[in-house]
Amino acid sequence: MMALPRILAPALVGVLLLALWQAGCVAWHVPPYIFPAPSAIAASLWQNLGALLHALRSTMAVTLTALALAVLAGTAISFLFVQSRAIEASLMPYAVMLQVTPIVAVAPLIIILVKDTFWSLVLCAAVIALFPVISNTTLGLRSVDPGLLAFFRMNKAGRWQTLWRLRVPSALPFFLAGLRVAAGLALVGAVVAEFVAGTGGRSAGLAYEILQASFQLDIPRMFAALVLITLAGIALTLATAGLSRRMLRGREPDA
């Protein structure tokens, strides 16, 4: 009952918008090299499906590897942070620095320094996906019910018992929220890095496809690549949301 309008309503809006777009392009005779109609984009997507899917695979490989790297490094750093306030205070400014420096500005440097293209792209994407994992997990590990913490202390729980039985489960919803943001950012990071690397002709991802298509004024193909990036982003969001629901099953909905 609830799921139907939640899927149906936005789908309807989408169809409506596409129809308007198509009708507008046809009515005003907009040339496809200025602004292609949805039908032209779909046709281009179909024509270049092989190359585009290959590019998608490459972008997704970078995104997912970067996300995994960010999750591993981010949670490790968070565990380090919650060991003592002194450690957090001394290292947090550098994590923030990493966050506020625009990745576009750092990417060329990374791409020059790291020889292997794949890993240089992964590194760029991981750097921008890292911060939400760190900040959310740290917050989560600290957001423990003070009553439960007192209960653990009264029962003489050790540091590890408190960590695994209390802090980690308490942090899980926070971590998963961070993961959702990080997944989106990893994709952004991968695409941005590909753009920077692509200008040097060393990439094969979707951003490279967009660049190539724009050089050749093949605008429908550019849009087709863009559609795939958007779909990849939606898939990532759905996957992390699903994971989150699965792992938090049985908990209070707003806990």
């Binding site: 019910d145 009553g147 439960l148 007192a150 209960f151 653990f152 202390r153 009264m154 029962n155 003489k156 729980a157 018992q161 039985r165 209390l166 489960p169 899980l172 938090l248 049985g250 908990r251 209070e252 806990a255």
Partner: protein
């Protein structure tokens, strides 16, 4: 008025020959930059008694209870458990259980896992732990809810789970900090009756903080009335009526008389304190 006044003066202290379980000796509490939370206080809770702390909010009831549990270290004075001066919360700490104002359950774990937590922390073998968890849940009347998550239970049931978690370690001393304060009166009355039955069955010594006069009169063998500014024990009121007490006791004249006396004492206590906003 730093010494507790006896009231009524002619009732002799019952069970004064029983061994002390918790003794607070000239215990004082000063929180940094705040007024003195607790003036030097003497208090001995003896084996088998059910003592309640009652008083206006901010009078240091919870502070006194947490000092007795050694959740806080006193600014001055000593807390003795079972007659010995334990310098650390060692083995003696395992003979007491604390029930908080909130159920403080783990939302991610089912009822049985929540109750088993103190046993897990003590590394009690799985089979033995499961047996004890089942027994504790039976005692609080929640045997059939063991697989539920806490958020599926009512407030009263969550509190029962919290009590089961306290009982599962088989404590001698139960410290309770306004455990039923957030519950409706009907639920609270039922829980009070069940708590008395459990305390009698397990021969628990209980120190119970409440802001309800009726609850204190119903549960206690002794009520300690506290006053604020600074927090102190203002009066001690024995309730010498026999246990078990039930719904009939709550309707009787003895109970009403105790409530009246406690209410008067509480008013005197609040007048004696400094004027507070």
């Amino acid at each position: 008025m730093s010494h507790p006044q006896r009231y009524p003066a002619d009732i002799s202290e019952s069970g004064a020959d029983r061994p002390p379980v918790v003794a607070l000796r000239a215990v004082e509490m000063v929180f940094a930059r705040h007024a003195r939370a607790l003036a030097p206080t003497e208090l001995t809770i003896r084996s088998g008694e059910f003592a309640s702390l009652i008083g206006p909010s901010g009078c240091g009831k919870s502070t006194l209870l947490k000092l007795a549990a050694r959740l806080h270290e006193p600014s001055a004075g000593q807390v003795e458990w079972w007659g010995g001066d334990f310098r650390r919360v060692g083995e003696a700490g395992r003979r007491l259980a604390f029930v908080f104002q909130d159920p403080t359950l783990m939302p991610w774990a089912d009822v049985a896992s929540n109750v088993r937590l103190p046993l897990d922390l003590r590394r009690v073998p799985r089979a033995e732990a499961s047996e004890r968890v089942a027994a504790a849940l039976r005692q609080v009347g929640l045997a059939d809810r063991h697989a539920e998550r806490p958020h599926r239970l009512s407030g009263g049931m969550r509190m029962r789970v919290s009590i089961a978690r306290a009982l599962v370690t088989d404590p001698d001393l139960l410290l309770m900090d306004e455990p039923f304060g957030a519950l409706d009166e009907f639920t609270r009355d039922r829980l009070d009756e069940d708590l008395l039955a459990l305390a009698a069955q397990r021969q628990l010594t209980t120190l119970f903080v409440t802001h309800s006069i009726g609850e204190a009169a119903f549960l206690s063998s002794r009520v300690l009335v506290m006053a604020s500014g600074p927090g102190r024990i203002f009066a001690e009121y024995p309730v010498p009526d026999p246990f078990p007490r039930d719904e009939a006791y709550r309707l009787g004249s003895r109970y009403a008389e105790h409530c009246r006396c406690l209410s008067r004492l509480l008013h005197e206590a609040s007048r004696s304190g400094e004027v507070r906003a």
